[in-house]
Subunit: 476 residues, 2 copies
């Protein structure tokens, strides 16, 4: 009873029905993947990482995908294509990762991290507990199971799909950039779908459209050629800790704005309609900051906390050290003082111009007998995806159809390197959709994924693929 | 042929002659003491420390001193008295220590640290090489051998003397304060002589009359209850490293002066005649700072480097730390930032008032969500000895008679705790005379003491004791 040539609405309904009907077996298949301890950073688990790669390879092949497992200097990369789409819609490149974080400290887990279980909570919710449940095995399985439901219901997918699964995401994706360059032709698509992010809350799905970039550097201020006795030299010798403190103090004005010349060049204000959308999110700065013991948004005055985190660039000291920092006291004048400083950047800022401005700012403030060294740590620009593109609109509507509350376009204050890599190396914008929640404890003991995230996540991808099938490839 | 009742000039000349005549055996006696590895901080050497105590006990007893070795919770304290002075002069309490620093790293020594030798250098100078040669065995032996020469020449000493030798100086003198309190009656004197300091240069003897005190504290600024992800929270969360940097920057003005309210209360200007004396020292800030890679006195503008180090108080960061300080980068917002800060104080400043002012200064600058903790490290006031006292004048003249250039009243930027302890617990001012040189490598490999320091040091004490014998006890 193929619905291959059925009208679109029927095909969607049929696929959703199949997904619901086989949800228990979808869960079993997720559990099978969760049982493989594919910890990519620990060589002791190399065999398990290979086993997880083979497992997802076989899953995709059994669905009818054309699958290739590519060896890399690290862990295998899996590319699977489905070229028999029902419609002449766009091709989507779906990205996720099958590796997981280490589980230490193991004694803080309530159970074996690789023996998944569904637990019911007092509030009626059910959680899938396991390492990788949310990051990222649960998320990639929402897509695989969505494909399964579509194929079982209609014999094919609503759009052409290329799947790219890597096994090194938790190790910094060392093989990915080279792989994208070498296989760009195999990865041609109209839009990327990345499933490694969160919902806004358990009722509100989200598409992440703003990601901040990064510029990081370590500055080392040196004065005397060794630590000096503060009795013997104190008063006459330059103290580089004071010099560094003055520079750090100078980097912000009394309104919390960064004083580096040119820092805000190219930074655009958030459009009114986006601000209006953020207002509907009912974000509580009190709750967000209260959870970590804070109460007052501390950044630029006159900005909401969401602006401060999503649309405004920052400059922060991540670490600093000088002189004696052990137990007790040592009355030395430090020979050097250093700080690790990074900027979160937004679209329009040029990381290299900011690096130059920072270095000039420091050098201008060096008194006699001081030198400065800089050790840049890597950088990438901020990203703001064009939400007016039809793929974004289609995904937003599809998510809104599935969940209790309308989907939101949100930001994240950090970076998701794959998004920049897809832009730079494949020329692809990413639609970032994920069903994680802020309390999923990813990277921590007792990681969980809401059973509802898994169920409605599968249904969401069915809806998104169907919605995108009506999008012209040119318009994406 | 006793000169017990000879005129003073003859007694002095006779003692100097004896000192010169027996200098080779004086050196042998110093070597015997240097061969005992009396490292007080290392329990493995406890037996050797005891042996060194017994050795100096026996030396003093053989000269005719009335000697008592007192057990302490740590190493023995030796008290020896000579009550048969030739004149009704004052009683001097002579202080030194028979323990030494550890010798690590041993491979940086050119020879066994406890196998003393005299080495001739290309410039014609001769150096006694051994651990403790300068700090402090060579120095205490100048006094013992001076006493020996006086006693052999005249049968007695020019003044009454109490000797106090401790064996814990290199371990922080834990037993000393309690011992001074318990034995104050046995230690009654008119003036203290402390032999643990340096000459100004190899031709210019020095009496140290200014010592800076210390106030130290660690300040810890806390904000969030844990380190935060700088992407997720950056911009909205308070960064305590910035708060600390601003506070440190605020602690000095653009002229290098400390901005703590009341900091300079009680600080006197150096009298013109003392400034004039310092000018004759031909101190070269270029040489002093150049030796450690610096060129410009960095403290208060309008002050000479000697003022900055001897007569002006300081406030310096000795250490600071926040966030991630290891290799590479970690983009955290630190939960806390801390600094170890100490002030070198001069006479007139109240350490407790400065502690209160510092704590208020920090608290006034704390933004919302920040707290400050303070961990004071101990404190002591600055000391300025009254150089108008006759004992100072007598010692200065005696030293001037012995050495190529006139003796100088100098300062040291650091503290010598025994001076404060003698003031507070025994009511005694200390005349600080020593024959070390800045390049003696005390506490370091290849410690040395100039042979000339030893020879003229012995002669200097003979002259000082004779000069002081003319000083009225009341006037001291």
């Amino acid at each position: 009873m193929s619905l291959n040539n059925a009208p679109k609405g029927e095909a969607l309904a049929a696929a959703l029905n199949v997904a619901d009907a086989q949800f228990d077996s979808s869960l079993e298949r997720l559990f099978a993947l969760l049982r493989i301890p594919s910890i990519s950073t620990d060589p002791a688990y190399d065999g398990d990482v290979k086993r997880a790669a083979a497992h997802v390879h076989d899953e995709l092949e059994s669905l009818g995908f054309n699958v290739t497992t590519h060896a890399t200097p690290g862990h295998p990369m899996i590319v699977a294509t489905w070229d028999k789409a029902a419609a002449d819609g766009p091709r989507a490149l779906f990205y996720g990762h099958y590796d997981v974080q280490p589980v230490d400290p193991l004694d803080l887990w309530d159970r074996d991290p690789f023996d998944p279980v569904v637990e019911a909570r007092a509030d009626g919710s059910k959680k899938i507990i396991a390492r990788g449940a949310a990051d990222d095995k649960g998320q990639i399985m929402t897509f695989i199971e969505a494909c399964r439901a579509c194929i079982e219901a209609t014999g094919t997918l609503p759009i052409s799909v290329t799947v790219l699964f890597e096994g090194e995401e938790e190790s910094g994706s060392p093989s990915l950039p080279g792989f994208l360059d070498a296989h760009a032709a195999d990865l041609t698509a109209d839009v990327a779908l990345v499933c490694d992010t969160n919902m806004w809350d358990h009722e509100t799905p989200a598409i992440t459209t703003r990601l901040r970039g990064l510029f990081g550097t370590e500055v080392v201020i040196k004065a005397a050629d060794k630590d000096l006795h503060s009795g013997l030299f104190g008063g006459a010798a330059r103290n580089p800790a004071h010099v560094l403190a003055q520079i750090i103090a100078d980097l912000h004005d009394e309104n919390g704005a960064v004083t580096l010349p040119g820092f805000y060049d190219g930074v655009a204000e958030v459009p009114d309609e986006v601000m209006a959308m953020w207002d509907t999110l009912n974000f509580s700065a009190d709750d967000f900051l209260g959870a970590v013991g804070l109460s007052v948004p501390a950044g630029e005055t006159g900005r909401t906390a969401l602006e401060q985190m999503w649309s405004r660039p920052t400059l922060e000291v991540n670490g600093m050290t000088a002189g004696y920092t052990g137990q007790g006291f040592k009355t030395v004048l430090p020979a050097q003082a250093s700080a690790k400083i990074s900027c979160r950047l937004v679209k329009g800022q040029d990381p290299d111009a900011i690096r130059k401005s920072f270095e000039a700012f420091v050098k201008e403030r060096l008194p006699a007998d001081c030198t400065a060294e800089f050790h840049p740590h890597g950088s990438g620009p901020g990203i703001e995806l064009d939400i007016s593109g039809p793929a974004f609109g289609a995904a937003k509507q599809a998510l809104t159809d599935e969940w209790p509350r309308p989907a939101a376009f949100t930001g994240v204050g950090g970076s998701i390197p794959i998004v920049g890599a897809f832009q730079d190396r494949l020329g692809l914008d990413s639609v970032l959709v994920g069903f994680g929640l802020a309390d999923d404890q990813i990277h921590s003991p007792n990681e969980k994924y809401e059973l509802e995230s898994y169920r409605k996540g599968i249904r969401s991808w069915i809806r998104i693929m169907h919605a995108m099938s009506g999008v012209s490839p040119v318009a994406v």
